[in-house]
């Protein structure tokens, strides 16, 4: 594959390195003259100086034969223009853009840049999961239908310790798939009793994860 990456910051640099290691043809475009030497030293002769959002640079980079264009500069305006021109002017089949301000994600989608990466949001979500859920670990997300499979570790003072699965006051659209106790995975029934240190595997609509979490929370948490 021929991949063009615009923006030689940390993301662009490591992405170039990873793709080169996989045997892809990669071109990294960076505007700042001072960064070129450092990047070339690290990556070899795959770095081009130029404004990645300029039609001339895009032509020189051979954008019309690119399979993938990745816009990862630190500026949403630059990333949007690079993506739009790559897609609409050079018919690049796959365009991925980094969105620095999470509020601009919707705009990128509306303007036809369908693949976006919002690093602020990803990190925020990770932090939120750490802080808020403590014991709810997402296992998988099923894209269609917005369903997530989560693992919930019951603490010793969990509200549901000692009650049965059937007695749980679950949010709508939730399914308890399994209870893991020690090394055993139990297929639960309504009368399966929950114990401390159990892990519950559940399927839940993404927007009801918070409610689900509250059902299993410790007594001293709200």
């Amino acid at each position: 594959m021929y991949v063009i990456i615009a923006g030689g910051g940390k993301v662009g640099q490591y992405l170039t390195k990873a793709l080169l290691a996989e045997g892809h043809e990669v071109l990294l475009i960076e505007q700042d003259r001072r960064e070129i030497d450092r990047l070339t030293e690290d990556l070899g002769e795959v770095v081009m100086r130029g404004d990645g959002s300029e039609m001339r640079t895009m032509k020189d980079a051979g954008m019309e034969r690119a399979d993938v264009v990745v816009a990862v500069t630190g500026d949403d305006g630059d990333n949007l223009v690079i993506s739009q021109l790559a897609k609409r002017k050079f018919d690049v089949p796959r365009v991925i853009a980094r969105v620095n301000n999470p509020k601009n994600e919707e705009l990128f989608h509306r303007l036809g840049v369908d693949q976006t990466v919002v690093s602020t949001k990803i990190i925020f979500n990770l932090i939120e999961q750490q802080i808020e859920t403590d014991q709810v670990i997402p296992i998988a997300a099923l894209k269609r239908g917005n369903i997530e499979i989560v693992e919930i570790d019951l603490s010793s003072d969990s509200k549901v310790k000692g009650i049965t699965v059937g007695m749980l006051d679950l949010p709508e659209d939730t399914l308890i798939i399994s209870v893991i106790r020690g090394d055993h995975a139990i297929i639960p029934h309504a009368d399966t009793m929950l114990k401390s240190d159990d892990s519950v595997i559940a399927m839940v609509k993404a927007n009801q994860e918070v409610q689900l979490r509250q059902v299993f929370a410790s007594n001293n948490q709200k």
């Binding site: 039609m55 223009v81 739009q84 021109l85 509306r110």
Partner: protein
């Protein structure tokens, strides 16, 4: 009219003062507080912030604005903010000032109204040097670039 101007440089500040002087409700956004010094004798609104942030645009009154014009020094910033105004906030009349002629042409084709001051300035100057009568703006905008 309710008009939002992004960029309080020379062009933005002159436009703001002119439009405000003839009775329009104008607000100007810039991320540099110092830029507002150009707005002496201006009774519109000054908003400090990043014009690509929808919250900043809302503070400037983009919801329900009749027109939005972007005249920052960054072509991409102007193009992006104009698309936010048009697509997210449904502002009926938008315009982006663009320095790079090829970028302006590309976006014009994509249906984003742009004004490339570079080609207009170059055309006017060349005509002046050649003792030609100055023509219509569209004459300069449509001139081939090569």
């Amino acid at each position: 009219m309710k008009i939002v101007i992004l960029g309080c440089g020379r062009m933005g500040s002159i436009m703001a003062k002119r439009l405000s002087a003839v009775g329009h409700s104008v607000s100007v956004i810039d991320q540099d507080a110092d830029a507002f010094r150009r707005l002496d004798d201006f009774n519109g609104k000054m908003v400090l912030g990043n014009g690509l942030d929808p919250d900043v645009l809302i503070r400037a009154g983009i919801e329900g604005a009749d027109a939005f014009v972007a005249v920052t020094n960054g072509d991409n910033r102007n193009i992006t903010s104009v698309q936010i105004a048009k697509e997210i906030f449904s502002v009926p009349k938008v315009l982006a000032r663009i320095y790079d002629p090829m970028r302006a042409a590309a976006y014009d084709e994509l249906g984003i109204p742009t004004l490339c001051t570079t080609v207009i300035g170059a055309g006017l100057m060349a005509d002046y040097l050649l003792n030609k009568q100055w023509g219509d703006i569209s004459h300069y905008c449509d001139m081939p670039l090569d």
